[in-house]
Structure formats: structure tokens, C-alpha cells
């Protein structure tokens, strides 16, 4: 079912059914986006559920001037950023701890190099990290990232470039030490 059909169903009274379809359509994409942001499965699950609860409470105000998936990505990204900043205020960047625990995480199957890459990405400032993940892993066009993060495309391109250079330099450092 397309987004338009889901919204039509929602507005015609089939709210629960429409929302269930919306969750079905977007659950995996949103989960993987959030998971790359927060790294831990349980944290990702919490953020994903919060994202859908917020979407449910504000779907009747969705005007349709953005695509449904950009709107959902915006909620999911904000939820992840809020989670990360909460962790930061509780003392330190816990996603860095989560990143350093990746190799022993039962829900992480990557090799040493993938663990290193995610550990390095976790060192980026949260908003820059969101730009990097959306562009690097999801290959989302800048135009859509701009809608998700409500930033100009020019600023995003610069931000991604800086993030990529930092990741490259940190990866090189890590690999020089390890290999």
C-alpha cells in the first residue's frame, strides 16, 4: 500500500488499520537508521517505539507537504539525537562505550574492521553523525536529508565532507595501530 493510500485510509476513519500498515512499511528502515545512531539494540527498540508513538499522536496534523517517509525519518532522527544528548548529560558519551563494546555485543556480527568503522563514526558530533549515516549507509540524496534534518543542502554537503574526512583520518590511525 502506498503512503497516499495509507493516509487516505487514516483520514477516512481506519486509523488503527492505516497506522498498522505504516508501521509495517517503515519499521525496518527506521530501525536500522536508529540502530546505527545509538548502536545498542535495546536502545534502538526504545527509540523506534517512541518514534511510532509520536507519529501516532501527530499524524492527524500531518499536512502532506513533505513525504511521509521524510517526516518519519525526521521524528526518528530527533528521537535518536535526544537519546544521545540525554546520555551525554548523564556523563560522557555512552554511545562511545557502546561502540567500544561492539565486538562483544551478541547482536553485532561484523568483523573487526566493521567494529572499528562504527567505533570511529560514534566519535562524530551527533548531528554530523546523522548526516554521515544518512548519506554514507543509506545513500539518501542531499535534498531528502535536508528535509529530514531541516538544514540547507549546502550546509549538509560541507558537514558530510568534514565528517568523511574525520572518519578517514581516524580509520587510518586505528588501522596503523592495529594492522
Amino acid at each position: 500500500m502506498t503512503d497516499r493510500e495509507i493516509l487516505k485510509l487514516y483520514r477516512e476513519g481506519g486509523r488503527q488499520e492505516a497506522f498498522r500498515l505504516l508501521v509495517q512499511n517503515y519499521k525496518e528502515r527506521l530501525y536500522w537508521h536508529i540502530r546505527r545512531m545509538v548502536l545498542d539494540h535495546d536502545d534502538a527498540d526504545d527509540c523506534l517505539q517512541n518514534t511510532f508513538v509520536k507519529a501516532w499522536t501527530s499524524l492527524d496534523r500531518f499536512r502532506g507537504d513533505a513525504q511521509l517517509f521524510t517526516w518519519l525519518y525526521r521524528i526518528a532522527t530527533n528521537e535518536s539525537l535526544t537519546f544521545l544528548s540525554r546520555q551525554q548529560t548523564r556523563g560522557g558519551r555512552l554511545e562511545l562505550d557502546a561502540a567500544s563494546r561492539l565486538s562483544s555485543d551478541p547482536w553485532f556480527d561484523g568483523d573487526q574492521l566493521q567494529a572499528t568503522l562504527h567505533r570511529v563514526i560514534a566519535k562524530l558530533p551527533p548531528k554530523q553523525k546523522a548526516v554521515f549515516l544518512l548519506r554514507y549507509f543509506e545513500e539518501m540524496p542531499y535534498e531528502q536529508i535536508a528535509q529530514v534534518l531541516e538544514t540547507s543542502e549546502g550546509a549538509l554537503k560541507a558537514s558530510y565532507h568534514h565528517a568523511y574526512e574525520k572518519v578517514k583520518a581516524w580509520m587510518k590511525e586505528e588501522m596503523d595501530v592495529k594492522y
Binding site: E28, W32, F52, V53, P106, W107, F108, D111
Partner: protein, 149 residues
């Protein structure tokens, strides 16, 4: 590990997803999300609902009471100072005895001091008192006025 870092980064992007989820996680997700939404939308208990409704009204009433109390306090203080009971620096403070003792305050003072006459005065005492205090002419005038009424 001589592979250029750019090639490595581009290869890693296409690599298989390294994260895993517990088995059946996505299958049960819709039900869990809908259950959570139903839980959050469940009506609140009666007592909590009443408190939720009353709380803002109480806060508003308390604010008004506080503002009214403060306003009343300031006005009372201002009135007290204006009446001259304040310090010498305050406006309205009487600087001389003449200013302090007004006709009204004198009348109040004597009225306060006047004791009611409780013992009976007989006619003879009254006549003797009038005869000693007033002249014959004054007595005649009083008599004439009394008879005219």
C-alpha cells in the same frame, strides 16, 4: 592492509549489515507498537483525572490570591503612612503641637473623658447651682425660651 582508505570505506558501505536483531523482533513489532499506543491512550483513573483538571485552576487561584494579598498589603501600608503615623520623613507627619492637636481630636478626647452622672440631682440643688452661676437676666431668657417651646 595496503588498501587505500577510500576504497576500503566504499567497500565497507556495501558490506553486509553487521547488526542483528533477536529472532522474530520485526514480526512482533506492529503488535507491540499498537499495544503501547493503546496503553498510552487508556483513560486515566478518576482521581488522577480530577487532579489533572483541578491543578491548573488551583494554580491560577493561588496566583490571584497572592497578587491580591500583595496589592492589599502595599495599599494598607501607603494609607498608614499618609495618615501621619509614619516616620518624620514620611509625608503627612505632624511637625508642631498645633498641627497635631486638631479640634476633632480635642472633642474626641473630652468625650472619652466625660463620665456619665449617675447620682440624682434634686430640684433645690439645681436651682441653687443656676442661681449662683447665672445672672437674673440669663435665667429669665432661659425661662422664656422654655415656655415658648
Amino acid at each position: 592492509m595496503n588498501e587505500p582508505i577510500d576504497d576500503l570505506l566504499s567497500r565497507r558501505r556495501d558490506a553486509e549489515q553487521p547488526f542483528r536483531v533477536p529472532e522474530g523482533y520485526f514480526d512482533a513489532l506492529e503488535d507491540r507498537v499498537m499495544a503501547r499506543i493503546a496503553m498510552e491512550e487508556a483513560p486515566e483513573t478518576g482521581r488522577r483525572r480530577v487532579w489533572t483538571v483541578i491543578k491548573p485552576a488551583l494554580a491560577l487561584a493561588a496566583t490571584f490570591a497572592l497578587i491580591f494579598g500583595m496589592g492589599y498589603g502595599v495599599l494598607s501600608l501607603t494609607q498608614t503612612l499618609k495618615r501621619g503615623n509614619g516616620t518624620p520623613e514620611a509625608p503627612g507627619y505632624a511637625t508642631t503641637v498645633e498641627e497635631w492637636i486638631t479640634p476633632a481630636s480635642l472633642i474626641n478626647y473630652y468625650e472619652m473623658d466625660a463620665q456619665p452622672v449617675e447620682e440624682e440631682i434634686d430640684e433645690e440643688t439645681l436651682v441653687n447651682y443656676l442661681a449662683s452661676e447665672l445672672s437674673f437676666t440669663q435665667l429669665a431668657e432661659i425661662y422664656a425660651q422654655a415656655n415658648l417651646k
